[in-house]
């Protein structure tokens, strides 16, 4: 396995072969889910437990992306991300069906804060 992955890194198909394995590794979870789902009844405690595990997983991922991001988001101060997130949440909770308003304002705030970058002038 290691030799397969240790192709010369400058070769284009080194990257493509990693993509193949990353894609298979990702799909495996989806396929395994389909395979195992036949054994699970929607009204069973097992289903309830898996639902809890799923929500805990996605919440952990989403909060991690906002608080400890990788990529371009990592270059922004945490304060900007928290202000944008907090404002969007406040709008969402304060009125019914405010998803579009909340998400638009959160995103706009992020753009404006990044543009004016008030922290850098302190």
């Amino acid at each position: 396995m290691e030799t397969l992955f240790n192709l010369p890194q400058e070769s284009a198909w080194w990257a493509w072969s990693i993509l193949l394995f990353a894609a298979l590794g990702t799909y495996a979870w989806r396929g395994l889910g389909v395979m195992l789902s036949g054994k699970i009844k929607q009204d069973s405690p097992l289903f309830g437990w898996i639902t809890c595990v799923t929500y805990a997983m996605v919440a952990a991922l989403v909060v991690r992306i906002i608080v400890l991001p990788v990529g371009v988001l990592a270059e922004t101060p945490m304060a900007y991300r928290l202000i944008a997130t907090g404002s969007a949440l406040a709008i969402m909770v304060s009125k019914k069906n405010g998803l579009v308003a909340a998400i638009s304002i959160g995103t706009l705030l992020m753009i404006v804060l990044g543009w004016l970058d008030p922290l850098s002038s302190l």
């Binding site: 290691e2 992955f5 240790n6 284009a12 990257a15 493509w16 990693i18 993509l19 193949l20 394995f21 990353a22 894609a23 590794g25 990702t26 799909y27 979870w29 989806r30 395994l32 889910g33 389909v34 789902s37 036949g38 699970i40 009844k41 309830g48 437990w49 898996i50 639902t51 809890c52 595990v53 799923t54 929500y55 805990a56 997983m57 996605v58 919440a59 952990a60 991922l61 989403v62 909060v63 991690r64 906002i66 990788v70 990529g71 371009v72 988001l73 944008a84 997130t85 969007a88 969402m92 998803l99 998400i103 959160g106 995103t107 706009l108 992020m110 753009i111 804060l113 990044g114 543009w115």
Partner: protein, 238 residues
Amino acid sequence: MSQTAQNSTRDALWAGCRDAVGVPAAVLVAGMIGFGALGHASGLSIGLTTATSFFIYALPGQVVFVEMVALGASGFAVALAAALTAARFLPMTLTLVPQIPKADRRRSLYASAHFISMTSWAVMMRDFAHIQASQRMAYFTGFGMTCWAVSTPATMLGYLLAGHVPTPVTIGLVMLNPLFFLLSFTEVRARASRLALLIGGLSGPIVYGWAPGWSILICGLIGGTAAFFLDVALGKKN
């Protein structure tokens, strides 16, 4: 299948496609444009960057892939890290599929499973309760396929736009994704699920600090189990 059942299946498929075009597709397009820009900035080719959306179709894993390939990490490490961030798809699928009647689960479900993403999962968890059980498979297929279909061209667009779009705008587009999911969590009503979201959300960044690769699995299994038993201990809701 009778004529009416066939018609209603087709209607459900179209309803899924239609409902995807709007906030869900916009969220995906924004995220993929941001991701395309990341691929460009990381020095990957447009083909490889775009192909990740087509084949992996899971943004956190794609980001890991691009960053690690750009850093020249070993192939095994990249594939493992990307696959680990995708662990959530197992329980996501396990909570989605049992809501579809057994009669509608054909072999093609293995193909449609590729359309399971954070977006399609979050929307189905919310809306399946209002959709007739017999229409859920068709609705999910239409919705999921539409979301997947817009992702690949959006990634290419993001790659091509990179450098022409001011960085703050790219950052805003990337931020749109986690924001959407966080906001959709506020619509979750069941107490056990809310506890799980709270425990998972709070522990996520902490566990990531000492076990970045495994944090999602750890938070999910331990946090989710804790939430499940806490809900049982709290007893029936008054």
